[in-house]
């Protein structure tokens, strides 16, 4: 009997392995090849075959500051656990930024030398306890020169006190909560538009499109990020004269929205704005379709900005509107800088896009660009300060008013709030993300009113 069960076991394990193998083989994009473990902690982007560390050009002017032979930037990322998707995307951006700084730009200009940068990172498992000790390890053991943040407000909140204690500049690119910069930290510099301003432009867009669409419904996850996003939407709605006809939250971990959607179908709003992340953003779109809840415009937070969204939903994603800190195709380039009358620094959006595609075989996302931008900004701040002193670099950040491929950067000198950058509004049109707001960088026209779910299922595309 036992022997037979072993046979069955063996047989089924084989089936399992085959299935797993199929999944692995067919889904493995070339760039996901795991980095060789031993070399990862040094942070050098080992997966790029063409990786060459540019020798520092020898400009033999006596350096006024003690310049190390490389500048190390440390951070943790959630590479496992709840936020591992975002963490992995961000890591790709960091690798692209390092490559640009070292190979294209030629290293940080400091003390008359060109110094290459290096990254050092750990996996914080999306856990706050680990964030604390790992950031201290970066500071005290690895002695990194500067810190950038990790992804998501809750983790950033835990990391910031450590940076503060050691007086380390902390470039926050992944915590959108307004509260981070309200704590009185001296060394936290935020590059993102705060949550309260993140999704509100959706309403500006509608005002400009259709003055008769006034009835807004809000459905949002009751987490800290979406709550603040919705507060922003609500206050913008008030200023612009919208009526909020439905406003309900759902707890974290909800995947079945039927109770809310049934109510929503009764209310029949013009505009539906959902506050979500990935899993729930996908689920809520699907269920809106299942329940046949139509509106003139449907905006979904977070999920649609990642290409997976369209891959998962297919035609159902057509016409869905979403906010983003940045999108490939947002050509916030030197022209934009010229218009504002400020300096442009870093790769142009096109340059970044091409480089990223070449390195990773996929389009950059909001997360990749955000971390890349944080590193590039740090380089600029170091150059402005001409010093590795934390205070000096922090002051340099305060003085910076600059445009990068990511958009404008300007902070409130006291709090580190981002006041220059603005989020964009995109829309899925015929399988592509199109930027439809703000008008000066839009890459296409909005498709409005959006198709009904029935039309989408029948194969119509949102082609304006």
């Amino acid at each position: 009997m036992v022997e037979r069960s072993w046979l069955i076991l063996g047989g089924i394990v084989v089936i399992l392995l085959i299935l797993v193998g199929i999944g692995y083989y067919t889904t493995r994009p070339p760039e996901v090849t795991p980095t060789t473990p031993a070399s990862t902690p040094t942070g050098t982007p080992t997966q790029t075959p063409m990786e060459v560390r540019t020798p520092t050009p020898t400009e033999t002017i006596a350096p006024p500051v003690a310049v190390p032979d490389r500048i190390v930037i440390g951070f943790t990322l959630p590479l496992s656990g709840a936020f591992s998707k975002e963490g992995q995307l961000a890591l790709k951006g960091a690798l692209a930024a390092v490559k640009w700084v070292n190979e294209v730009y030629g290293g940080v200009k400091i003390g008359g030398k060109r110094v290459p940068i290096e990254i050092k990172y750990y996996d914080d498992e999306s856990k706050r306890d680990l964030v604390i000790s790992l950031y201290e390890r970066l500071i005290t053991v690895d002695k990194v020169h500067f810190l950038v943040g990790t992804y998501t407000s809750t983790l950033v909140m835990a990391a910031a006190p450590v940076a503060e204690k050691y007086g380390m500049v902390f470039v926050n690119w992944g915590g959108a909560s307004d509260l981070i910069n309200k704590q009185g930290y001296k060394y936290v510099v935020t590059t993102w538009t705060q949550a309260s301003r993140y999704m509100a432009p959706v309403l500006d867009l509608i005002s400009s499109l259709d003055p008769t669409a006034k009835r807004v419904a809000l459905i949002w996850k009751s987490d800290e990020f979406n709550r603040i996003v919705m507060e922003g939407v609500r206050s913008r709605a008030q200023t612009l004269g919208f009526t909020i006809v439905y406003d309900k939250s759902f707890p974290i971990g909800t995947l079945d929205f039927t109770p809310l959607l049934v109510e929503l179908a009764v209310v029949k709003p013009d505009i539906i704005v959902t506050g979500t992340h990935f899993a729930d953003g996908l689920a809520i779109t699907k269920q809106l379709a299942d329940m046949g809840v139509n509106a003139k415009l449907i905006a979904v937070n977070v999920a649609p900005s990642v290409p997976d969204y369209y891959k998962s939903l297919g035609a159902l994603a057509e016409g869905i509107v979403f906010p983003s800190e940045w999108e490939p195709g947002v050509w916030w380039g030197p022209d934009y800088a010229k218009k504002l009358g400020v300096e442009f620094f870093g790769p142009t959006p096109q340059e970044f896009h091409v480089m990223f595609l070449a390195m990773h075989g996929e389009e950059p996302t909001e997360y990749s660009a955000s971390l890349a931008n944080a590193i590039i900004l740090l380089v600029k701040a170091i150059e402005v300060a001409q010093s590795l002193d934390q205070k000096a670099v922090r002051e340099a950040f305060s003085k910076l008013d600059i445009v990068t491929f990511f958009g404008r950067f300007k902070i409130d000198p006291e709090t580190g709030f981002q006041i220059g950058h603005q989020s964009v509004i995109g829309q899925w049109q015929d399988g592509r993300k199109v930027i439809i707001w703000p008008p000066d960088i839009a890459t296409g026209k909005p498709y409005y009113p959006v198709l009904t779910w029935e039309e989408k299922k029948a194969g119509r595309r949102a082609i304006p």
Binding site: V141, T154, A160, V162, E164, Y185, P251
Partner: protein
């Protein structure tokens, strides 16, 4: 087990080593890869294991909602500080008030849950406590208590009350000291329990509760006593940790993963043993910490098999196995 002087001395030595290292690191800076926060993380795990051991290890009851105590501790301390800040009181009022709140909230929870749910046994008790924990979480979110799902942020009030320097001190050294004290307190209480009637009562309960009653053990009282002690210690640990994380969100604070970690810490070392949590806390904490650096993104794939292997090889835990197979160790490992 009856604790001899050697046992207690050995335990205290282990503690002294970790504490000594922590102080040394504070004075001379990190020793190789060993940083202050790593040692504090280890102390955190040790304290968690030691505190939970008083209940789980000694009574054999599984509290699957143990994290609720930590969460209430965090909220107790944080809301105390925020309240003091809003009332314009000096900062240390907030901390004292926070400590009082922590102890009140956790002991209330322990008495209520202990009084009611400890009538249940085995898996039923375990799941009842899960329900308490999740229920509390959704109550906090649903009724918007302590800022509900927005999260209670303490770093701002702390910085304004104590200044940047003061906050740094609180977030690192002072909360480190608190974590170490909780670990030590939990050990001392464990020793006291084991060396008095209480320990014997708890062991009798663990082995056979009905027989214990007939033999004169007031089982309800001792169970609630162990539960409350363990709970308050968990709360104090949470209170200390609240300075570190500086913000508290319900899904994070009531995350069942902490309970599972606490169970792992107790079982990995050996339930009911005193040295168990020290061994498992050190092992568990440093594995996590170092693997996070060696294999970022893949560390759990190494970590989890190690966990499974250890427990399959030594089901009675590391210290339990040592004591069982190497009798000589019984003289000094408790």
């Amino acid at each position: 087990m009856t604790l001899s002087r050697t046992h207690i001395l050995a335990l205290l030595t282990l503690y002294a080593i970790i504490l000594g290292l922590r102080i040394l690191v504070e004075v001379v800076g990190p020793l190789g890869p060993i940083t202050g926060q790593l040692l504090t993380l280890l102390a955190f795990y040790i304290a968690l294991g030691q505190a939970f051991n008083i209940f789980l290890g000694m009574t054999g009851y599984v509290d699957f909602g143990y994290v609720a105590f930590m969460a209430l501790g965090m909220y107790g301390m944080a809301s105390g500080v925020v309240r003091a800040y809003e009332a314009g009181l000096p900062g240390y009022y907030g901390i004292v008030f926070g400590l009082i709140q922590t102890i009140t909230l956790t002991s209330l929870l322990a008495l209520i849950v202990g009084g009611i749910a400890l009538r249940l046994r085995g898996a039923y008790f375990a799941i009842a406590t899960i329900s308490v924990n999740e229920g509390l979480r959704y109550l906090v979110e649903g009724l918007d208590i302590w800022e509900g799902s927005r999260g209670l942020i303490v770093s701002g009030p702390l910085i304004r009350l104590f200044g940047s320097e003061g906050f740094s001190l609180l977030a690192t050294i002072i909360s480190d000291i608190m974590v170490f004290s909780v670990a030590l307190l939990a050990l001392v209480i464990s020793i006291v329990f084991l060396n008095t009637r209480i320990g014997y009562a708890l062991k009798a309960i663990r082995e056979d509760e009905d027989a214990a009653r007939v033999m004169g053990v007031n089982t309800t009282m001792y169970k609630v006593l162990a539960f409350t002690t363990s709970g308050i210690l968990g709360g104090l640990l949470g209170a200390a940790w609240s300075f570190k994380v500086a913000s508290i969100y319900p899904p994070d604070a009531f995350n069942i993963l902490y309970t599972i970690e606490a169970i792992i810490l107790v079982m990995l070392g050996g339930a009911g043993t005193l040295a168990g949590p020290i061994v498992s806390g050190t092992l568990y904490g440093s594995l996590k910490y170092f693997l996070a650096g060696i294999l970022p993104g893949f560390q759990l794939l190494v970590f989890a098999p190690i966990l499974v292997a250890v427990i399959v090889v030594a089901p009675e835990g590391i210290v339990g196995a040592l004591r069982a197979y190497i009798p000589a160790t019984r003289r000094f490992i408790a």
